[in-house]
Every structure is written in structure tokens, then in C-alpha cells.
């Protein structure tokens, strides 16, 4: 991270609360704090891995950035532009620059459209190409993602999961975006197919100078693909660090527990598991102070009352940040 250049995406204080309604008049009785005050950035050409367990708000972060959900509060700046303040018309233009790839390749493609129509639709709608030019561009996209252009007239159900995911990637690439949110993009695929898709994403990143926000629960995947990793727990960030730092010297007790739970494909390695007790608390009633304190093996008194401070580990340029009382 260089001080002079502004990041491609800067998210500041992002919050997304879902109302819980109850009673006769559907009054809002409480809020589910799915994402509670998150700040991070994504640099040009970089992959930021966003990891955390199920239900910690990873997907909500991704969708809020793209305004597929309206965040409750916070600021999202994409290339210096305030995304949350865009009017509908401007937002539609902005969508050309930021795209999303979904987890489930079975529900992410319209079953009643041919895959050719799926990929060419955005080009037509944004009036980027038509006629022969359109056809050429769609053919190119198909080749780029490793599909045969002659399969364009086929329907999604005729393809395997990996192939469908390639169609989803081609659709996301159609508008030539700079930034793609990969929402568990490989989690639904077999391991062998995962590797193919990850390599594809990496090749495309080099070719088009893309930035990814790679949302996943699979640490091996982010380790392979990401430049930096952000660890989320119960709607808040626990730690952000470059990949090497995070895997070699994790600072947050939650990160340490997460890493110790990561399976290593080597039977001779005896892993030192940090087993967490209890379950993830409900985001309806998050614990006071540090949200991790009821399960933290190194909990202190201060953790139960005060919000954890942001601590920078090592050199600031390294960008290793941790939200934890332990390191203050």
C-alpha cells in the first residue's frame, strides 16, 4: 500500500442492520447487526480475501458494496466516487465497473436463456456492441473463460457446475469491470474444478488488471489467490494482513483458532488445534465489548466492556491490522 495512490475501493464504517419485526403492527423490535462498522480497502489489481465462518456477514459486505442491498450506514468509495450516493442512472453506469460472481452455479444462470444470451445481454443493454461486433465479443469472452463458442445456443442445464461457473465469469467480464466480488465463487465446486476456476480467475486478473474481493470460508483458496486477507467475526473485522503475515504470525486469537482448524493436506503434520468453546453468538444480541470475548481463550476483563482498538502490527506500510486488546 503506497500512501500516495488512492485505493480502488475504500469502504469506511459500513453497517448493515436488518430489522426484526414483531407484534401486531410489525414494529421493529430489534436489529440483526449483520455487518457492524467495517473499514477496509482494495487496491488496484489486488485480491483481498474476506474470510470468516458462515453467517458472519461476508456476503452482506459484498452485496452492500455493489448496492445489491442498501447498507444502513457507511461510505463506499469506488475510484473516488461515492457509490452509495449514486442516483439510479449513475448507478447503472457504475455497475459496468464492478461485478459479482456467485457461489451456486446452478441458481446464478437464468434457466430459460441460452448461455449466449446470458453473456450478450449486458453488452446489448449497455449498448456496447451490436450485430457482428456483439457476436465477436461474445465469442472472445467464451474463449477467454475456456468455453466453446459453438455452445452458445445451449441452455445452462446442459452444462456441469464448473462450466456454468465459467459462464457466470464470462457474464461478469462482459462489461469489462475493474473490480469483481467473488462470493464463494469456488465453494460449490469439486476440488479439481476449483483449481481450474482459481487458475482462470488468476489469469483473467493478470490479463485485465482486475481487483477481486474474494469472499470464502476456505483458507486454502484465499492463500492461493489473495494478496491480503481480512478476517471477519460476527459482523466485524478481526484482523487484516498480507497473506504471508496472516499465515505465519496471526495476531488475533480468532485468526489463530481459524488457522488451526484449517486442514493441511499432509498426514505427517500434527496440527495444534485451538478448539473454541461454545457457538457463534447471535448477531441479534452480540456480546458487549469485543464480540469474540465469550469464546476467546485469552480473554481479559477489558475485553468484556470496551470495544477492541485498532492496532497496527509492524510497519504501517505492511498493512497488518488487528482489532484486539491483547496487542494494545
Amino acid at each position: 500500500m503506497t500512501q500516495s495512490s488512492t485505493p480502488l475501493l475504500q469502504v469506511t464504517g459500513l453497517k448493515k442492520y436488518f430489522p426484526v419485526r414483531s407484534g401486531l403492527f410489525s414494529r421493529v423490535s430489534s436489529w440483526v447487526k449483520a455487518v457492524d462498522d467495517i473499514t477496509f480497502h482494495v487496491n488496484h489489481g489486488e485480491t483481498l480475501g474476506l474470510v470468516g465462518e458462515s453467517g458472519c456477514g461476508k456476503t452482506t459486505v459484498g452485496r452492500s458494496i455493489l448496492r445489491l442491498m442498501e447498507p444502513t450506514a457507511g461510505e463506499v468509495r469506488f475510484e473516488g466516487e461515492d457509490v452509495l450516493a449514486l442516483k439510479p442512472r449513475e448507478l447503472r453506469q457504475a455497475r459496468r465497473r464492478m461485478q459479482i460472481i456467485f457461489q451456486d452455479p446452478y441458481s446464478s444462470l437464468n434457466p430459460r436463456m441460452t448461455i449466449g444470451a446470458i453473456v450478450s445481454e449486458p453488452l446489448k443493454i449497455h449498448k456496447i456492441a451490436k450485430g457482428q461486433d456483439l457476436q465477436d465479443r461474445v465469442n472472445q469472452l467464451f474463449v477467454k473463460v475456456g468455453l466453446r463458442p459453438e455452445h452458445q445456443s445451449r441452455y445452462p442445464h446442459e452444462f456441469s457446475g464448473g462450466q456454468r461457473q465459467r459462464v457466470g465469469i464470462a457474464r461478469a467480464l462482459a462489461l469489462n469491470p475493474k473490480f469483481i466480488v467473488c462470493d464463494e465463487a469456488v465453494s460449490a465446486l469439486d476440488v479439481s474444478i476449483q483449481a481450474q476456476i482459481l487458475n482462470l480467475l488468476r489469469d483473467l486478473q493478470e490479463e485485465f488488471h482486475l481487483s477481486y474481493l474474494f469472499i470464502t470460508h476456505d483458507l486454502n483458496v484465499v492463500q492461493y489467490l489473495a494478496d491480503r486477507i481480512a478476517v471477519m467475526y460476527l459482523g466485524q473485522l478481526a484482523e487484516v494482513a498480507p497473506v504471508e503475515d496472516l499465515f505465519t504470525s496471526p495476531k488475533h486469537p480468532y485468526t489463530q483458532a481459524l488457522l488451526s482448524a484449517n486442514p493441511v493436506p499432509d498426514p505427517t503434520v500434527v496440527s495444534q488445534r485451538t478448539i473454541l468453546s461454545g457457538d457463534v453468538p447471535s448477531p441479534l444480541h452480540p456480546p458487549s465489548g469485543c464480540r469474540f470475548h465469550p469464546r476467546c481463550p485469552e480473554v481479559m476483563d477489558v475485553c468484556k466492556t470496551a470495544d477492541p482498538p485498532l492496532i497496527t502490527i509492524g510497519l504501517p506500510e505492511r498493512g497488518h491490522q488487528v482489532w484486539c486488546h491483547l496487542h494494545s
Binding site: 452485496r63 455493489l66 445489491l68 448507478l91 447503472r92 453506469q93 455497475r95 459496468r96 461485478q99 459479482i100 456467485f102 457461489q103 451456486d104 441458481s107 446464478s108 444462470l109 437464468n110 434457466p111 430459460r112 436463456m113 445481454e121 449486458p122 443493454i125 449497455h126 474463449v143 477467454k144 473463460v145 475456456g146 468455453l147 466453446r148 455452445h151 445456443s153 445451449r154 441452455y155 442445464h157 446442459e158 456441469s160 462450466q163 457466470g168 457474464r171 462482459a174 462489461l175 481450474q196 487458475n199 482462470l200 489469469d203
Partner: protein, 316 residues
């Protein structure tokens, strides 16, 4: 980058897949051919009883009343009132009218009532259900659009439909069009309910979210991405809806509130015949069987469509 080299089955559009499954369903296929036959009969009925009058359903021949099916008329062979072909295929009624000619005419009336009524109810149902499902969260004052529309639907469902229709028909001038419109206006609630349900679930599908992320206009998302995927179950219920509209019309005509004479419908032929159950059983047996077969056929086709269109029900 690996180009996939898997051999693929020949391309199959959803339509071809649907046909393949539907063709294996013998009951549905039977129903389908009955309906085709009915359609042809109905159009021919309209043509041959009104445009080129081969069979005149309105000729009264008092000398020939209550003749059983396949009777030969007593009129001499030069009379213009002689039935076509010189035989009463389905007998005659208490006024000596040719039941075959009346059934022939009635097939068009019954079927058109079924289709028009269902068309009206589908239009209302899809519109209201779609709006409730897609724009449901929008507030109108203190309640949401969804609450407004769906509670109205619930209220409409609370009325016993048949009696509501009876009341409306009793107040309005009797005609075939009134019947069509009334039946349509009072049978859209089921459609509205599941179009809303479909829209609610499709709205959250990733391909709709993807379309939104691509900046595709809302109108196009609704009509290109959502409606085609919501329509299959609507189609199924429409098929069954036609059957129930025909049944409702027959019921109304039987009670004397239906299509006014001289238009013949299966319902009023049945109604006319009810007084002569023991003397002329063909007068109620023939229209009764016709209604039964047609309603059965529509239901069989509806079931077959449901099987063939809904992959979740399919046994693979």
C-alpha cells in the same frame, strides 16, 4: 486454460425437454388429444351452426319430440327442417330440436367461456400477484402494497364464489359476455397467490441479483428473467381453471342463471333435460358426459403439464 472437451448430448431446449416428458405421460396425452378434438369440434360447431347452417339448433319440430338418438325424422325428405344426414344423431328434446346441433353449438359457447374467463382471471392474477411479489415492500401510507393486495385477495377468497357469481349474474343483464367476465372476475385469487409466491422466491434467485448487478433495467428483469420462470405453474393452473370455468358456467346454466336462450350451452341442455330424466335420459346423459369428459381432459392435461414443467417433481 483448459477448453472443455467433453462430448455433449445434442442440444435440447426446455421446450424439447418438456415435450419428451409430456409424451411419456399417456393420461396427459389422452387428455391433450381430447382437447384438440374438442377445439376442432367447437370451431366446427360455430361454423356449421351459425355461418353455414348445416345443423340448425333452433328449428322446432313438434312432431319429432323426444326421439332417441339415431332416430329417423318423420318429416318428409323435402322439408327444409330435416336434420343434416337425415338422422338425429343424439335424439331430440321436448321441442323436437336436434340435440346434436345444440351440443355442437354449445361446445363453442362452453369452450369460449372457459378460455375467456381464464384469460381474464390470469390477467388480473398475474398483475396483482406480480406487483405484490415484486413491489411488495413499498409502503403506501401505513401499509405495504403487498398487505393491501394480498388481504384483498384473502377477502375475495372468503366469499363462496359460486353464490357471489349467482348474485352478480342475477343483477346484471344476462348474456354470454356477462357470464365470461363475471367468472373471470371472481376466479383470479389462486393465480394471484402463487404468482406472488413465485415472484418472491425468484426475486431472491442469484440470476435476478446478477441481472441487477449488470445494470439491467427493472422492467426487463421482470419480463425477461422473472416472468418466464414464474409462468410454468401459472400455465398449469390455467388449464385446470378452464375446466372449472366450464363447470361453473354449466352450473349457472343449470340453475337458469347462465347463458340465456336461444344460445345453447351444455349447461342449459342439461337443465332442459332434467325434467325428463326417465322419459328421455339422453337429454341429460349426453351433455353430462360431455362436461365430464372435457373437465377430466383439462385436469389430466394440467397434471401432465405440472409434471413436465416442474423439474422438482420429476423422478429422474
Amino acid at each position: 486454460m483448459s477448453v472443455d472437451s467433453e462430448a455433449m448430448a445434442p442440444p435440447e431446449t426446455p421446450w424439447q425437454e418438456f415435450l419428451r416428458i409430456f409424451k411419456k405421460d399417456y393420461q396427459a396425452l389422452f387428455g391433450f388429444w381430447v382437447l384438440i378434438l374438442l377445439l376442432v369440434t367447437a370451431v366446427a360447431g360455430k361454423a356449421f351452426t351459425e355461418w353455414w347452417v348445416l345443423f340448425d339448433p333452433e328449428v322446432v319440430r313438434l312432431t319429432d319430440k323426444f326421439l332417441p338418438p339415431f332416430s329417423v325424422p318423420s318429416l318428409d325428405s323435402l322439408s327444409v327442417d330435416r336434420p343434416f344426414g337425415g338422422v338425429y344423431l343424439m335424439g331430440t328434446d321436448e321441442l323436437g330440436r336436434d340435440v346434436f346441433a345444440r351440443m355442437f353449438q354449445g361446445s363453442f359457447v362452453s369452450l369460449s367461456i372457459g378460455f375467456v374467463a381464464v384469460g381474464i382471471s390470469l390477467g388480473i392474477g398475474i398483475l396483482l400477484g406480480g406487483v405484490a411479489g415484486f413491489y411488495g415492500h413499498v409502503k403506501l401510507g401505513f401499509i405495504t402494497i403487498e398487505t393491501l393486495i394480498m388481504r384483498f385477495t384473502d377477502a375475495m377468497m372468503c366469499f363462496p364464489t359460486f353464490f357471489l357469481i349467482l348474485t352478480a349474474v342475477a343483477l346484471l343483464p344476462p348474456s354470454i359476455y356477462t357470464i365470461m367476465i363475471i367468472i373471470g372476475l371472481f376466479s383470479w385469487m389462486g393465480t394471484a397467490r402463487f404468482v406472488r409466491a413465485e415472484f418472491l422466491s425468484i426475486r431472491e434467485q442469484d440470476y435476478v441479483i446478477a441481472a441487477k448487478a449488470l445494470g439491467i433495467p427493472e422492467v426487463r428483469i421482470i419480463f425477461r428473467h422473472m416472468v418466464p420462470n414464474a409462468l410454468a405453474p401459472v400455465f398449469v393452473s390455467a388449464t385446470i381453471g378452464v375446466a372449472s370455468a366450464i363447470l361453473t358456467e354449466s352450473g349457472l346454466s343449470f340453475l337458469g342463471f347462465g347463458v340465456p336462450p336461444p344460445d345453447a350451452t351444455w349447461g342449459n341442455i342439461l337443465s332442459d333435460g332434467k325434467g325428463f330424466i326417465f322419459d328421455a335420459p339422453w337429454l341429460f346423459f349426453i351433455p353430462g358426459m360431455a362436461i365430464f369428459v372435457v373437465v377430466l381432459a383439462f385436469n389430466l392435461v394440467g397434471e401432465g403439464l405440472r409434471e413436465a414443467l416442474n423439474p422438482k417433481l420429476r423422478s429422474r
